[in-house]
């Protein structure tokens, strides 16, 4: 038959699926997820591209997974943990964002909000849990798999993060009222 190699692979479940199509469809979601965790657009793009690049070199294997995007997401999460450890960017960024809030509308696509400032003050593990649960809309079981921890640990992190966010946001509201 014509195209024996393609013919063979065509009969195997999705081994030669189109990476470009997958990449274009899922890139925005992965960047947004990482951006919410690291709090910075360019670093998020860097991490997302690295994760997709790793998927590209293993595409024959990754394409066979039920959810290739979940594989990319897990790689991106690991990379964001590494990046967070290296730079401690969250702490620096929260200070910068506070300045941006005072000095007019930010030009960075990741504009600061009270919620984002509070989120970036959370410990990385809690931030990941919040982002995966509320932004990626993942069930706690999948978050546990992504983060390599137990389901109960994820629940604990979510509860702690919610408490802390509420406290931070309340303090932020109080600060605004006083300023007025």
């Amino acid at each position: 038959m014509l195209g024996a190699g393609w013919g063979v692979s065509f009969n195997v479940p999705v081994p030669t699926d189109d990476f470009a199509e997958f990449y274009e469809a899922s890139y925005g979601r992965v960047v947004a997820l990482v951006a919410a965790i690291v709090g910075e657009r360019h670093q998020a793009e860097d991490i997302a591209q690295e994760a997709f690049s790793r998927a590209l070199t293993r595409w024959s294997r990754v394409a066979r997974y039920d959810l290739p995007e979940a594989w990319v997401r897990r790689v991106a999460l690991r990379l964001s943990i590494d990046a967070g450890r290296r730079t401690r960017r969250a702490a620096l960024l929260s200070a910068r964002l506070a300045f941006v809030q005072r000095s007019g509308p930010p030009r960075d696509p990741l504009a600061a909000t009270a919620l984002s400032v509070a989120l970036l003050r959370l410990p990385l593990s809690q931030r990941q849990a919040i982002v995966l649960y509320y932004l990626a809309d993942l069930p706690v079981e999948e978050i546990a798999r992504d983060c390599g921890v137990s389901v109960s640990t994820v629940r604990t992190r979510l509860a702690a993060a919610r408490q802390r966010l509420e406290r931070e946001l309340a303090e932020s509201d109080e600060g605004v009222r006083r300023a007025r």
């Binding site: 024996a4 393609w6 081994p15 070199t57 504009a111």
Partner: protein
Amino acid sequence: MLDEELRMGLADWVRPVATLPAPDIRVLRRRARQRGMRRAATAAVITAVVTAAAVGITVSLPAGPRAGRPVVGPPAAGGPQTWSAAPGTWQRGTWQPAGSLPAPDASLAAAPYFVTIPARGASAVVTDAFTGQVRASVRPPGSGQDFAGVAAAGDDHTFVLAARETGAVGFFELRLRPDGREESLSPLFTLPTRTVPMFAVSPDASLLAYTTGTGIETVSLAAGTGRSWAVADGQTFSLSWAGDTTLAFEWQVSSSSGAQPAGAGLRLLDIAAPGTLIRASRLLIPYCLSAQVCVVAPLISPDGSTVIATSLALGTGVTTTVEEYSARTGRPLGAVSPAVTTPRGNQACDPLWTDPSAQHAAVFCGNGFVTDRTRFTMADLHLPAGSLRTRSESFAW
């Protein structure tokens, strides 16, 4: 705070980045190569240390039998396969040989037309390199199709276009009239795949080669017969033909350590030779010449004398140069494009085209810059702005 508020607040916050367009896929390929280089460098250091240690240990051991044959890579899967076109996939009689080919020392004036595929692939654009005038805009014949790749034969008037459609990729032969207008667009055959392969057409337009998930296939466009060249591991890239006998390609293997087998790199396939892809081909330039310098994206000149390829050197940044190599010995002959150093190699240059004997070369440097190493400049080529943003397969001359 209510869960729904949290959900909406987060979504609103990251919405601007969620709609960012995905960068060119070449960026990912380049990252992968650089990662491979770093791992290869690490592996080389480890190997050197282990070898040094082993030498210290084995000097007192009796010498064993020497290997009779150098290792060229993992054993290939299966033997050579030949096949004929399946009914309904081959449009017999539409193919014609390319016109008379330029002499090996022909100037660029003998080949004025190049074809580009804009980002969306709605048409293939034929441009006169000397005037910048668009001579033709060729649309895919079927609704729902978009062009996704182009390769050029050696006569300057024959091109093969790949059109993507639902679940398949169709190949078409584009003929230009002497004035660069479209003469004909004829279907050749269809592959049942959603992945547009890398492909190259021989200078006389008699053979088409394309990558598959398991190696390379070569097809006689005249007869509709072909041959599958299987490889057990790794991927093949960057196909180009010298005459109708030799196919240059790049073979790399993904591994967690980054170490490449001894035969990885630029290889030359003799399509008349028996055996599988690795056995029927010879290594011309290893993937990495040293721990710091690797060679990728090769392109062989149609007369088979010269290979031009991108050299990536790791230092404080990534320095890329397009270099010329002897196709006989693999020795470097000189630089084709000036060195470009960037922190991540994002502006790496890739060779796009050579004339029959590699006197002239067109090089894409990531930002639309195309140069010729002897006489021509970017202005001479009149490359439409942004026309090469997608990948080098979107250009053929």
